[in-house]
């Protein structure tokens, strides 16, 4: 079977390149925009994902993990007494001011626990031992702080909320959604740093379920016993934290608009080049009809050409997006491209090209085969 579609498409290599570039541009734009968006959202829930808690008890209407409100620390006792709870601990997440050697002030989002190992944070420790945190005025600081605080080393001191604290460890990848560096310190130390607001208070209770416990039932029981708090599963809490940023800022709308514009540009480029190509090959299509071919034969040719352009454009676009990853990582941003996301973009790029080919379909349907007799 002679493959007129492919041969005709590749015959004009420049036009093919333009078509593929149009698709690749749209694909790269979608990958980068959505990938960055997913990366930012990942920051919004990165601690929730890594902390090995099955349930989170929060104060009522806490919008996301970074914007914590306090409640009495004794709530943890009531949680521990609920059947099906294997362990429960208080967690303070609190924004604190850091005085830098230069005299400037910066912020840190402090995560304070009594037992870090039990809850599996921090998850990437470059140096230091988290068990040492309870032994004095110590903290762990994430490496991302270098950008905001300037270079620092383990063993140096920083002033947090007016108190001198020694950096005894360094972590990696612990960033909040707002890119505020995360620090880790002992729970009691955190309360002492801000006694007015944190004395006898906590911001969360982390809950680990006993093996075989019914999560929904335990959650309901905790909610019953703590009527002024909210209880979320890990998945619900992560989703709520991410949703806050999508809905309360322009980031979601911005992402949707950019993706829409990217697809629109892709469709316009592909439609324009395919349509121009169809017009230039109109006599060939007339010949196909004259020798006995029907509209369906020509639709197949255009459909195949659009599909080839879609697949080639996807591959090129995906390669460009992956090539951008190291550069994006250098500015502490994450480009997350999951297999499911890539599959959706692949299907979308092919559908986009086929949609663009529809415009040419209409033209083809009206081709008069008698044009083959015209000079």
């Amino acid at each position: 079977m002679v493959d007129l579609a492919t041969k005709s498409l590749l015959h004009d290599r420049l036009r093919f390149l333009i078509t593929v570039s149009g698709v690749a541009f749209a694909v790269t734009l979608v990958f980068v925009q959505v990938g960055l968006f997913l990366g930012l959202l990942d920051n919004a829930s990165v601690t929730i994902e890594h902390i090995s808690a099955d349930l989170w008890v929060t104060s009522r209407n806490t919008p996301n993990v970074d914007f914590a409100h306090t409640f009495p620390e004794t709530a943890v006792q009531r949680v521990r007494s609920v059947p099906g709870v294997a362990a429960a601990d208080n967690l303070i997440v609190w924004f604190m001011t850091v005085n830098l050697p230069s005299g400037a002030q910066e912020g840190t989002l402090a995560y304070a626990l009594s037992d870090f190992r039990r809850w599996n944070i921090p998850w990437n420790v470059e140096s230091g031992d988290v068990d040492d945190l309870k032994r004095g005025q110590y903290l762990f600081l994430d490496g991302s702080a270098v950008k905001r605080y300037g270079p620092f080393a383990v063993g140096e001191y920083r002033e947090i909320l007016g108190q001198r604290m020694k950096i005894i460890g360094r972590t990696r990848d612990a960033l909040s959604f707002t890119t505020t560096p995360i620090s880790f310190l002992d729970f009691d130390r955190a309360q002492k740093l801000s006694p007015d607001l944190l004395k006898n208070r906590t911001t969360y209770v982390l809950v680990k379920l006993a093996p075989g416990a019914d999560a929904a039932a335990v959650k309901a029981e905790i909610a019953r016993r703590l009527p002024y708090n909210d209880v979320y599963t890990k998945k619900e809490w992560a989703a709520r934290s991410r949703r806050y940023w999508v809905q309360s800022t322009g980031i979601g709308l911005n992402m949707y608009i950019t993706v829409f514009l990217g697809c629109l540009v892709g469709i316009v480029v592909v439609a324009q080049t395919l349509y121009t190509s169809t017009m230039e090959h109109i006599k060939e299509f007339g010949t196909v009809k004259a020798i006995g071919g029907g509209n369906l034969d020509i639709y197949r040719i255009l459909g195949k050409q659009a599909t080839i352009a879609g697949v080639a454009g996807f591959v090129l676009g995906a390669l460009m997006a992956f090539a951008l990853r190291p550069a994006i990582a250098k500015i502490d941003l994450k480009l997350i491209i999951t297999p499911v996301f890539a599959a959706i973009v692949f299907a979308g790029s092919v559908v986009m090209c086929l949609a663009a080919a529809m415009i040419s379909f209409r033209k083809v349907a009206s081709i008069d085969p008698a044009l083959v007799f015209r000079a």
Binding site: L4, L10, H11, G286, A290, G292
Partner: protein
């Protein structure tokens, strides 16, 4: 054996608010193995008649029978099938696919006609050999001369063994020497394979290869031929045989 008949065919077009008549009661017939030339000045209706005989256009009225099948203007979806089965075209501009090689141009036409795989490839090679272009089978049209291109176009028309070959000014883009060679080759192949060949032309050389020459003027074919077929039709009516199709149809482009 008669393979193509046109009886009392008319064709008119709507041009603005007016109807312009292009053909006025044209009748003609072709036998298998017969070569007929149609001569006439520009605008006389030659190409319109060729389009109707080739089932690319339909007649406004009258009757066309292709390879034994009456053409029903109301059933336009049937026309591609008639073209695939019964008609091979040769165009003035060659109309080859520029991205396909010589053999692929022929093979693609066979694919459209329903032949696939090795059968299509061997038939394509057979006709290319018949037109003397076996050694150019893998050349793209841009690398071939005008005469070679027209020979590929003839091979494409011959492929699939359609009983009717319709050619529109096949020598118009060739110099006179090459044109004469092409015509002679076309004639001998049509005769050898017992195909009916209908050539629309301005070229007086076509006369030399034709069994009959028809003249068309202002949409009317020269009296002799029209009367012959017209008389046959009248005789059929006289024997009480109704024409298989109504004589008047609305015009419709494909």
């Amino acid at each position: 054996m008669r393979v193509l008949e046109a009886m009392d065919v008319t064709k008119d077009y709507e041009e603005g608010h007016e109807r312009v008549a292009v053909l006025h009661g044209v009748s003609l017939a072709l036998e298998r193995g017969e070569i007929v030339a149609l001569e006439g000045p520009s605008g006389s209706g030659k190409t319109t008649l060729l389009s109707i005989l080739g089932c690319i256009l339909t007649a406004s009225s009258g009757r066309v029978v292709v390879d034994g099948e009456p053409v029903d203007p109301a059933n336009r979806s049937r026309l591609p099938e008639i073209r695939r089965r019964s008609i091979g075209f040769v165009f003035q501009q060659f109309n080859l696919f520029p991205s396909l090689t010589a053999v692929e141009n022929v093979e693609y036409a066979l694919n459209v006609k329903g032949a696939k795989g090795a059968a299509a490839r061997s038939e394509a090679e057979r006709v290319l050999d018949a037109v003397g272009l076996s050694d150019r089978r893998d050349f793209l049209p841009r690398d071939l001369s005008g005469g070679q291109k027209q020979r590929i176009a003839i091979a494409r028309a011959l492929a699939g063994r359609a009983p009717i070959l319709l050619a529109d000014e096949p020598t118009a883009n060739l110099d006179s020497h090459i044109g004469a060679q092409i015509l002679e080759m076309f004639r001998s192949l049509a005769k050898k394979e017992n195909r009916a060949l209908f050539i629309v032309t301005h070229d007086p050389k076509v006369r030399s290869i034709s069994d009959r020459v028809l003249q068309i003027r202002d949409g009317r074919v020269a009296a002799g031929e029209s009367e012959t077929v017209g008389a046959a039709l009248a005789a059929a009516r006289g024997r009480g045989q109704a024409p298989p199709l109504p004589m008047t149809r609305s015009s419709a482009a494909l």
